[in-house]
């Protein structure tokens, strides 16, 4: 988890307060314009994101780096795949 906390993302998507399916849609939108190896960070309050985001990343062929629980929200890190 220490490693995850130190990762510097290229793009931040703040979805705090938004529920399913907006976190997925907004991350999908950012991933489209990202280059291979870039990292997108999602902030989400939706408990469903903990299951949705890893599944979504794998389905899209991206690398799900993990998540970190913060005070009242969770940070998710996804690396753009090839």
């Amino acid at each position: 988890m220490d490693d995850l906390e130190n990762i510097k993302a290229d793009i931040l998507v703040d979805c705090r307060g938004l529920s399913c399916p907006m976190p997925i849609l907004r991350v999908k939108k950012e991933l489209k314009s990202m280059k291979k190896g870039q990292i997108v960070e999602l902030w989400s309050t939706d408990p469903g994101s903990k299951k949705d985001m890893p599944d979504f990343a794998v389905k899209q062929g991206e690398e799900f780096l993990g998540y970190v629980d913060e005070a009242g929200y969770t940070r998710y890190l996804i690396k753009k795949g090839g």
Partner: protein, 404 residues
């Protein structure tokens, strides 16, 4: 160092069991099987499983006690929410989800942007209108309808898919053209220790809720209302399985067009195979009348109702059943969607049922009366197979995924 001895070993096993049942992620297919079995039991217990009439009962209270009972066809007070079987089951589902989310420390209420609440209400209202047309929500009008061999279920499925496409297109348009302002949050912080550390207290409250609902069964029985008590218990189990696995019928129709994901499609097909096989036994064996619950307005009502409902559920971010468990785990937007559903549904349901619109939209058709018991299983196997293959094809090719 870990303690050894019989007592410690038993305690460790109990903790492991608790972790397995209440904490670890539950796969969707487990919930699919469980819900298929529960739907059969509910059918045997009382009537095929539905949700919207429970929302209708809640809305009727509002109209009756504000003096507008005639708008919803009420001459006398409606059944109280704790005596209406479907309302009781819905309450059981909410509390089942609340308990499950608390035990996993997932229960959280967070503030959504103002616009999301408006979308919640409009989405809920659309779901209410759709349910009136189809004579059932996504749960009763599609899942149960297919499970008990009502033609309306298949037509509602087409409508739900079309409505979901429009809903996803709207969400994409909104995301690209109308950015939303993220509100500042003051949510629960498990890392700090306020006067009461709710993160430590929630699991006990969750467990307490489960014990209370199980006890309520005995209270209902003591008043000779065992059937209603059973509905609370079934609701608790349904809410538990749905929340634990995040079983969302809305996702079945929305995600294939949004990302190509078809995990829910697989789970629903598995669930419906069990449900339809079970209801065939029930109907063929005359345990319940074979046309019991075949009241979905085939074909126009189911199609139009499905379309309106599908659009509404995507905008609201929840359908009738996932609305209950999401509300139970603290989603405030979904609470507003339920208010929208309850406010509109009783009025439109009464209007549709008591005007020429009702018969115009269609009537319940029993699949077995059309195809007979010889061809009905063939039709069902073909239907499940085609649906599954289409979902797999779409997942690999993204042919039906809406691009942006």
């Amino acid at each position: 160092m870990e303690k050894t001895g019989l007592g410690s070993d038993i305690w460790r096993e109990i903790k492991r069991g608790y972790n397995f049942i209440f904490i670890q992620d539950m796969p969707l297919w487990v919930a699919g099987i469980a819900l298929g079995i529960l739907a059969i039991l509910i059918f045997l217990w009382r009537y095929p499983w539905g949700i919207s009439s429970g929302y209708g009962n809640w809305g009727q209270q509002l109209y009756y006690y504000l003096g507008f009972g005639k708008w919803v066809g009420l001459k006398k007070a409606p059944l109280t929410p704790w005596m209406h079987p479907v309302s009781v089951m819905n309450i059981g589902m909410i509390l089942g989800a609340t308990g499950a989310s608390m035990m996993k420390n997932q229960f959280t209420t967070y503030r959504a942007p103002g616009r999301e609440y408006v979308k919640g209400f409009i989405g809920g209202a659309l779901m209410g209108i759709g349910s009136s047309f189809a004579n059932g929500c996504i749960e009763g009008g599609f899942y149960t309808a297919v499970g008990v061999y009502s033609m309306g279920g298949f037509m509602m499925m087409i409508g739900l898919a079309l409505g979901s496409i429009l809903g996803v297109k709207y969400l994409i348009w909104e995301m690209l053209n109308w950015p939303v302002k993220i509100p500042t949050q003051k949510p629960l912080d498990c890392k700090k220790t306020p006067l009461i550390n709710w993160c430590k207290v929630y699991p006990y409250i969750g467990g307490g809720i489960y014990i209370l609902i199980c006890l309520s069964f005995y209270v209902y029985s003591a008043f000779d209302k065992t059937v209603i008590g059973g509905m609370a218990f079934f609701g608790l189990l349904v809410g538990f399985f749905m929340q634990r696995s995040r079983f969302c019928l809305q996702r079945t129709f929305r995600n294939p067009f949004m990302t190509g994901d078809y995990e829910m499609v697989k789970a629903v097909i598995l669930s419906l195979i069990i449900y339809s096989a079970g209801s065939a036994v029930i109907k063929y064996g005359f345990f319940q009348p074979d046309t019991h619950g075949i009241d979905h307005r085939f074909w126009l009502g189911s199609l139009l109702g499905g379309f309106i409902f599908g659009l509404g559920m995507v905008i609201a971010g929840a359908c009738a059943s996932s609305g209950l468990w999401r509300a139970g785990e603290g989603n405030t937007k979904v609470w507003v969607a339920i208010v929208g559903f309850c406010t509109v549904y009783p009025v439109t349901k009464y209007a549709v049922a008591n005007t020429a619109l009702g018969p115009f939209l269609g009537k319940g058709i029993y699949v077995v009366n059309v195809l007979g018991w010889t061809w009905t299983p063939v039709f069902y196997i073909a239907f499940f197979l085609i649906w599954y293959l289409l979902a797999v094809y779409n997942s690999k090719t993204e042919k039906f995924v809406i691009s942006f």
